[in-house]
């Protein structure tokens, strides 16, 4: 029992270094405006999946949320996602459909560079901590496609909402 506390502290120390590094590096990319640019790109590419949603503020928040998620920026993804949810709520039926899609995408967990798990693997002495990268892309890619397809079909069917 008492050893769990010690184990947790060791785990946090293991992770702290990589979390500092990654958050620091990503702050640079945020300040160049590239995270926002990626958000706009994602919003444009994925627009057809979100039905007829037009509101610009909604799209800005949704794009930011998706970009931050894909880049593994938990600190930025959550506030953007909350803002998107609050804005979409005011957009009626189309907004709710878009929010459902956004949540499904979030929940599929697609992340380009899973630094946390790579750090844990490295600390545990893995021969090649990044060898799980490609299978990871396959797994979260499959989950993303599956979620898009299912939610897309449901949204198209015009579900009645309570």
């Amino acid at each position: 029992m008492l050893q769990s506390g010690q184990g947790a502290v060791e785990l946090v120390l293991t992770l702290a270094g990589s979390m500092v590094l990654w958050s620091g590096v990503m702050e640079i990319l945020t300040r160049t405006g590239d995270v926002e640019r990626l958000g706009r790109l994602l919003a444009r590419v994925l627009a057809p999946l979100f039905g007829g949603l037009k509101d610009r503020d909604c799209w800005a928040a949704m794009g930011m949320n998706m970009a931050a998620n894909v880049l593994g920026l938990g600190n930025a993804a959550t506030p953007a996602g909350i803002r998107a949810a609050q804005l979409l709520e005011k957009q009626g039926e189309a907004g709710l459909r878009a929010l459902a899609m956004l949540l499904v995408l979030n929940n599929a967990g697609l992340q380009l560079l899973p630094t946390t798990v790579m750090t844990l693997r490295s600390a545990a002495g893995a021969a090649n901590p990044a060898d799980v990268w490609l299978p990871g892309m396959a797994v979260s890619g499959a989950a993303t496609l599956c979620g898009l397809a299912l939610m897309g079909m449901i949204n198209r069917g015009g579900m009645k909402r309570g």
Binding site: E27, T30, N107, A108, M137, L150
Partner: protein, 166 residues
């Protein structure tokens, strides 16, 4: 790949920042502080989850859940040792991290179970937590199908994991 990949990504981002005239060092330090805060905030939950896993193991609950889910795990070609991760991952990020450490300790980080556990944790999301946080900020009480679709996609992902990792 591996260390090299991270090095290249970091170098590219720093170069990009310099090209765009960003105060690279200042940005890194400020962002790094956020990372440090996030790591420290993780500690209590991680401690609780490590304890929970110890209790689950000692009480035999782990064994019960593992044998209950054994047919499903066999169907997806996943080793029994990752059952706790499969169950915890959608509920808790720190819980699945603690469970991942356990699999590393029990089976080895480069074993098939260790690699599958790594992928299950890295390529998924805390589904229940995300929904609570995002919907909790609105007056929407229920968004039909989102949870079902998300969990179905998660299981599909897990099956892909069992298929692609040998």
């Amino acid at each position: 790949m591996g260390e090299g990949m991270v090095l290249v990504v970091v170098a590219l981002i720093v170069l990009r920042g310099m090209m765009k005239g960003v105060d690279v060092y200042g940005a890194f330090v400020q962002g790094g502080k956020q990372g440090m805060d996030a790591a420290l905030r993780l500690l209590p939950a991680l401690c609780a989850m490590t304890m929970l896993l110890a209790v689950m193991g000692a009480s035999g609950l782990n064994r019960v859940l593992t044998s209950l889910l054994a047919p499903l795990m066999r169907l997806m070609n996943l080793p029994e040792e990752v059952t706790p991760i499969l169950l915890l991952r959608p509920l808790s990020g720190s819980g699945s991290m603690a469970a991942l450490q356990q699999v590393f300790a029990q089976c080895g980080v480069d074993s098939r179970a260790g690699r599958i556990a790594s992928v299950l944790v890295s390529a998924s999301e805390t589904i229940f937590y995300t929904m609570t946080v995002y919907l909790g900020a609105t007056n929407i009480r229920k968004l039909p199908w989102v949870l079902a679709v998300s969990l179905a996609s998660y299981v599909v992902g897990a099956a892909v994991c069992g298929a692609v990792i040998h």
